[in-house]
Symmetry: C2
Subunit: 226 residues, 2 copies
DNA sequence: CCAAAAGTGTTGACTGTACACCCATGT
DNA sequence: ACATGGGTGTACAGTCAACACTTTTGG
């Protein structure tokens, strides 16, 4: 480590942790791994680790997701920095937490000797988690609901082409609330978030559904009350 | 510094910076101080400094506001963590930035040998600032607009009792947009954010205005589109 | 009586919400 | 023929946006 003029200052350690959400079987699930080291060795925790020289926290989060779960190229944004000096029994360890979304069918988790048994668990049944990771997940869940209300972030939980029902299922699952089919369709159409393709998908003994895609690749705020 | 098990890891330095907004003369202003040390010695910058052992970043932000500007007891929330490893010429210095609001008349800035010439400058005329502080202020301004749209945060920019015009002025100043007096009043009344007192205030040669107070001390989200 | 800010209502367009039936397909 | 999810319209209530005049005071 080079001697710089910042060397003289007290330095807490800094880690990056990630809350990866996905929807599977109409359940909101979160990714956890089994801790390989003390403290909390063997307990499940959010994937995370120390920031290496020259890296930022999101780069670190991405590196760790790849190492610990074989997961790459997913939507991610910074969530919040958890910096209670008592949150880690080893002493001050600041966690810059991130929030990520993935379409479950787009990825497969690697379970190998290098990974740490990465598993998507229903949000309500994570069991005990290391550190303050339950609290971090709660915070991420709030963020998820907020983003869903005001942006087109649902696209990160869906394949490129999807049916109206699949989109509605994302909203219903995350808000734990049944929505009216007709009203939901009108609302989404008015917002202009998605456009119809010319394809239909047949799935079982129902009428085939039209496939849609999102109109814009990046996030937009829906409305401004003033 | 105690030898803990985290000692072996690379540690960037961590600072806390604060963006304090206020409204004065119908202008949105931001607090800056003059840097006492290198790098950027003499350049204006956001108040900020290194986190001390046992402190969290918000505690640090509050301590520094008090030391560098004589400012205490104001609304504050965590904003974002800026962690580009190249943002500080000395090497990796992570900044946990905070967002604060104050009613200009409620405070007076201390200018003494201990402080660093704390000044509220109009947002559009801050001039050159140290590090990436311009970017941090931009981010804070976005947050401010978002909070104003969906919460009752305006109360942190107003005295306990205020007139409808003063409230409207907060919104108009921050959104840089004239609002219709009647529609604004109806909207705010419908939200139930504020309640009338029995007092009127006379100010000059106009009809006296009714004074209002906020109904709830803490933030509430206005509405959910789903 | 004049200047200045305070305060007040109506209308038309749009959005939200509640609600029930027919459609296209596979079995 | 039936079960399954796909797809559609209408009516009422609430909200948004545009717009102008009267009131109360001090000077």
């Amino acid at each position: 480590m080079p001697k710089t003029s910042t060397q003289k200052f007290y330095k807490p350690s800094i880690t990056a942790d990630v809350v990866v959400f996905t929807i599977e079987d109409s359940l909101l699930k979160v990714l956890t791994v089994k801790r390989a080291d003390e403290p909390f060795k063997g307990t499940r925790a959010l994937p995370g680790g120390f920031i290496l020289p020259g890296s930022d926290s999101m780069g670190t989060a991405r590196r760790i997701l790849k190492e610990k779960a074989g997961l790459e190229g997913i939507y991610m944004e910074q969530l919040y920095t958890f910096d209670d000096p008592k949150r880690d029994p080893r002493g001050s360890v600041v966690s810059v937490a991130h929030f990520a979304l993935v379409h479950r069918d787009a990825i497969s988790l690697e379970t190998s000797s290098h990974t740490q048994d990465p598993t998507f668990t229903p949000l309500k049944h994570t069991g005990t988690l290391a550190f303050d990771h339950k609290k971090i997940i709660e915070y991420a869940y709030e963020r998820l609901r907020g983003r869903l209300e005001y942006t087109n972030i649902a696209q990160s939980l869906l394949p490129k082409e999807f049916t109206f029902s699949e989109l509605q299922n994302v909203y219903e699952t995350i808000f734990s609330k049944k929505l009216d089919k007709r009203n939901f369709r009108k609302k989404i159409e008015r917002l202009g978030l998605i456009k119809a393709t010319k394809k239909k998908i047949k799935r079982g003994r129902q009428r085939p559904a039209l496939l849609y895609t999102f109109a814009s690749g990046k996030a937009e705020s829906f409305k401004n009350p003033f």
